[in-house]
Symmetry: none
DNA sequence: CATGAATGAGAATTCATTCAT
DNA sequence: GATGAATGAATTCTCATTCAT
């Protein structure tokens, strides 16, 4: 899933400094969009000059790459654990959603970037792993939903792909407004979302 | 809601040509993102040279402006009609959602652009109308949901703002995958979405 | 002194229309500078579209050319008459200055353009006649001043080239503030200028 | 009188380098006119690429701005000293003229630019200080002339505004031909100019 | 590690000019 | 005579990136 080999240049610098700088970069990318973000803006935010960032990273693109791949790696650590747990379909969905909100909590900026940029990035070879992840993601969710329909846990009258998109988007789009440390914990938000997704917002007559 | 008058300069050119070019531009903006789209790319797509676009439009930004303001104007024509119809909360939600999917069908590209760019654009004075629209939008939906809770039509145990975001995002994010002329008509998609949002995807025991 | 041959294209159009358009162009050139003036601005002022000017003129440059050469032709008609009249040095200076203010009155815009642009234009072959005129001009004035010094009419203690520049500039720079139809007639201004140049502004003790 | 603060962007770069580059730019502006000068031409002259200038300056316009405002600041330092010295009208004129030729000597390019461009620049808010300076200038000179007429030092039979323009133009236009390091020192030129302006070029009978 | 100064490849935009209608 | 629509070259400006110090 990670990306191309770094030039010998980079990968110096203490890991903590890298992490810091990547957080800064991610925050700016998320706020302004990757393309609209200048390297200088990131450097300003980090209290250094633009050129100095190149001691730590090969390129602007490799910052983006590292932000996204780090996030996806952690995300799949969580997802894989859930999927391996042998839960029933409903419980799997619940666990995946909860895990997702935890990731949003931990990687809000990365998630926001992912959502804005993934589509056009995944065309580039360097970011093929985004498409791969997307596919693996789809397989996991679609499979769970299908299993749920087969088990009579989910409604059978819904278009399954539409439902998949509905649930997927419903969860991730939350990154666009979520602010860590706000009123609701990720788990609380997950609970409410699950309640809406599973049972709807209407009062059942 | 639309934006400033163009200099006498522009606004020449037959309206049909403008419309054509704006459609082309919107398509490219939606596919690549506004910032990542070069004026030359649009011109290529339109079969002309980059400079020639400036006979029709003041700037790349004013193309974006016209795309978004045209879309929002039409959107609010539809919404205002619904809101003025005196429907009950549930029927209002149904009508708004259906209207939204119709707009996605008609202005897919504009909606996609809106979603990617609105947040950082609305800081600029020229695009303040985006924020205004957002606010009006929020008022309409929140009001309807509250009315619905008061009337016992919607569940009272959910955080109302969370619910608002849930419903709002749930609908509009569809623009990111929707393709006009596909398997489902907007009305069909609206029906399925409403079914999920209102009643949930779980089989009620 | 006039300039390059026109392409067959041009020189159509009634002479009066040309004259009108050239006056318009001259006014704009004078106000904004030649380079800063767009063909469209001229066309706007003339109530037509930019492209339409090309029915009347080959190019923006040829408008400038015609404006300047027309002015210089008329100027030299006047100057040559004065110089051929066989006047004494002081009377010659008086007549040249008066004639100059008449030209400023008649061709204010052209004079202003001449002053701003002549220096760098005269490098181009097309505008060599500007340099030629300048030289002829210098010969006439310098000669008159020298004659005046020799005759004991002008002070001998002044650097003659400095004096030439002083008188020359003193007169022509007036075009930068002169407005035809103002308080003073050209002849009145000439009289005052002559009085200052010849006798100074100090009260002779 | 100087202009707006630069963005943090610029204003880096050692002051000496800025000074150098501004001198280069001023020279080119003076020779070709501001509009006709391309940024690339300046960069060529400075031995760098066009884009590199933007490390030092925000824009072509801000170079112009800095050139003019620096010049005016220094000019007024000199003028204010003269005006504060409590001299009589004739001595004030003499001192102002001498000071002016010194400024022409020091800032020939800036003065030439000022003369070609001031009029249309002063319409722009950024260059309002040009108009302000012009006004202050007029007040100083007109006042001195009036005082001189009242004191019987200057002729009363001349139109005072005409006289003002005469003296003003007579001095500054010299920047268009003056070359520092030439035959005459600024003080020598000032002496000759003053002699002409005050006493005229004619031999008093 | 960081700075200062530059590079160089575009980017948006302008504008004189052309030409079919 | 004029218009509408374009061309294409030039221009200002931006920005990721490099590199000597």
């Amino acid at each position: 899933m990670p990306s191309a080999k770094k030039k010998t240049t980079t990968a110096n610098a203490s890991p903590e400094r890298r992490r810091e700088l990547l957080n800064t970069a991610a925050e700016v990318f998320a706020a302004q969009g990757y393309n609209a973000t200048t390297v200088r803006r990131i450097a300003d935010e980090a209290g250094m000059l633009a050129g100095s960032l190149y001691y730590h990273f090969d390129s602007k693109e490799s910052m983006l790459d590292e932000i996204l791949s780090t996030f996806l790696t952690e995300l799949w650590d969580g997802y894989d654990a859930v999927l391996a747990a042998g839960l029933g379909p409903r419980e799997t969905i619940e666990a995946l959603v909860t895990e997702s909100f935890r990731e949003i909590d931990r990687h809000r900026a990365a998630v926001a970037i992912y959502q804005k940029e993934a589509r056009h990035l995944s065309a580039q070879p360097r970011f093929r792993y985004l498409a791969d992840s997307q596919q693996k993601f789809e397989k996991a969710w679609l499979g769970t939903l299908e299993r749920g329909v087969a088990d009579g846990v989910f409604r059978a009258d819904l278009d399954i792909r539409l439902t998949y998109r509905f649930v997927r988007d419903t969860v991730w789009i939350a990154a666009s407004w979520y602010r860590p440390g706000g009123r609701h914990s990720p788990e609380e938000i997950a609970r409410q979302y699950l309640s809406m997704v599973l049972d709807g917002i209407a009062l059942s007559a």
